[in-house]
Amino acid sequence: MEFIKAVSRMLVASPERQVEADADTLIVQEVRAGNVAAFDQLVVKYRERIYAIIYNLTSNREDASDLTQDAFIKAFQSINRFGGQSSFFTWLYRIAVNGARTHLRKNRLRTFFSIEQASEEEKTPEWLNTLAVEAGAEKEVFARDLRQRLNESFQKLSIKHRTVITLFEIDGLSHAEIAEVMECTEGTVRSRLHYAKLQLQADLQDLLKR
């Protein structure tokens, strides 16, 4: 059974992911052996990705920070229970996504705050200048408003649809990896992704290419 799972994981995961997963397994074994500091390597490696997922699910930077820390604490506490049926990053993603979803169910009416700083690459697209001119606003102000608008559109999606589109579009996971994280079939992932995109397109119709 373990052999079948390992083979299926190898078939599903890309070669880079496989190398990554093997390196993670070694670190996990170190942590289990008592080298607690080795866990920091996993934190540094995955904190940005976990934070990005949780931030796009909650649209709140404070909550995203807390939930990311909680996910790492939970992973650290239960690292002995990590059986190796899936790769470490899938297991960690599952912990993070489940924690975020539980938080969202408990705090449905929480307000959100966009991150003020963004990386440089998003300031250059031509369409951003055009839309800013059309709106008669400065580019930075328009970019902030646009982020706010995108967060609002994300929050209108259901938690499941939001999770799928975040994992696929923001973190770049494959359908199979999302299915493993969300514990559903790939067909379900595709279906949710399709409906999430349709809903976003309908909501952002005035901004999009006609």
Partner: protein
């Protein structure tokens, strides 16, 4: 004068908007704060001792891992053992000592007393019911001629239900068909199905009740005095009797009496030297 085609202003696709959102990242100093917070939480988690229920919960959950499957396995084993036992006890063959059957339609010789025939049927029915309620049946009804019914069951029915005190003993089935006479006949032991459900018990009870009702109907019919001549006109009240005449002329008032007489006429017939009663 030619016009250059006007290019629409560039607009983003959904994928480009999502890419824009993907680029949304916190500042590098954020991660220093994040690491400090994580370190604090990690230490707190290491120092925290579980209290109360949280302390025994792991033990409880660990024990559940074994208790739940063991209980389920025991329940399944109990059911598996119980089913053959109950089936065996129910399907134990019973001894039917003798049971002459009257399967032919009831016929009465000319001049025979119809009351005697009814008494015979009633006695047979009573004996069957008594035998069933007693559990051990050793009943005999020795009425007139061939209508003899003797039943003997060696083993009492251990699975009788409280409400099934009047069920028939094993080996008996009571059947009534609309055009036949009352027949009590034993079912053959070989073809008898073991009663293994409450539903079959209920069906048997219903059969006994229907047998009782049919016997009562037989008694009612027999006690009814046949008119010498059935004259429909005699059932109509005189026309000049006011309100009573109006009531008797209505279909509701007249129909039951007519139907009773017609029913009697069609159910009881004399052909040759025999009297037949249809149900």
């Amino acid at each position: 004068m030619g016009f250059a085609p006007q290019q629409p202003p560039p607009r983003p696709t959904l994928e480009e908007l999502l890419q824009f959102k993907r680029a949304e990242r916190p500042a590098p100093e954020f991660w220093a704060e994040f690491d400090r917070g994580l370190r604090k939480k990690q230490l707190a988690a290491l120092m925290r001792h579980p209290q109360g229920w949280a302390r025994i919960r792991p033990l409880f959950i660990h024990s559940l891992r074994w208790v739940v499957p063991a209980t389920a396995a025991a329940a399944v084993a109990l059911v598996v053992v119980q089913i053959p036992l109950s089936t065996a006890s129910r399907s134990t063959p019973m001894e039917v000592a003798s049971l002459p059957v009257r399967s032919a339609p009831a016929s009465v010789a000319p001049g025979a007393d119809i009351q005697a025939l009814l008494a015979t049927t009633n006695a047979a029915h009573q004996s069957v019911v008594q035998a069933a309620s007693a559990g051990t049946v050793a009943a005999s009804a020795e009425p007139v001629g061939r209508a003899t019914q003797v039943a003997s069951v060696s083993q009492p029915d251990e699975h009788s239900l409280p409400w099934s005190a009047t069920t028939l003993p094993h080996g008996f089935e009571t059947s009534f068909r609309p055009t036949e006479t009352f027949v009590v006949q034993p079912a053959s032991r070989e073809t008898r199905r073991p009663r293994s459900s409450w539903n079959s018990r209920f069906n048997e009870m219903v059969q006994v009740i229907s047998a009782e009702q049919s016997t009562d109907r037989l008694l009612q019919l027999a006690s009814f005095s046949l008119p010498a001549v059935t004259d429909p006109a005699s059932t109509v009240a005189p026309a000049d009797s006011g309100l009573a005449a109006y009531a008797s002329n209505t279909r509701a008032a007249r129909a039951p009496a007519d139907r009773d007489f017609r029913d009697l006429d069609t159910r009881i017939g004399v052909s040759g030297s025999s009297l037949s009663i249809k149900f």
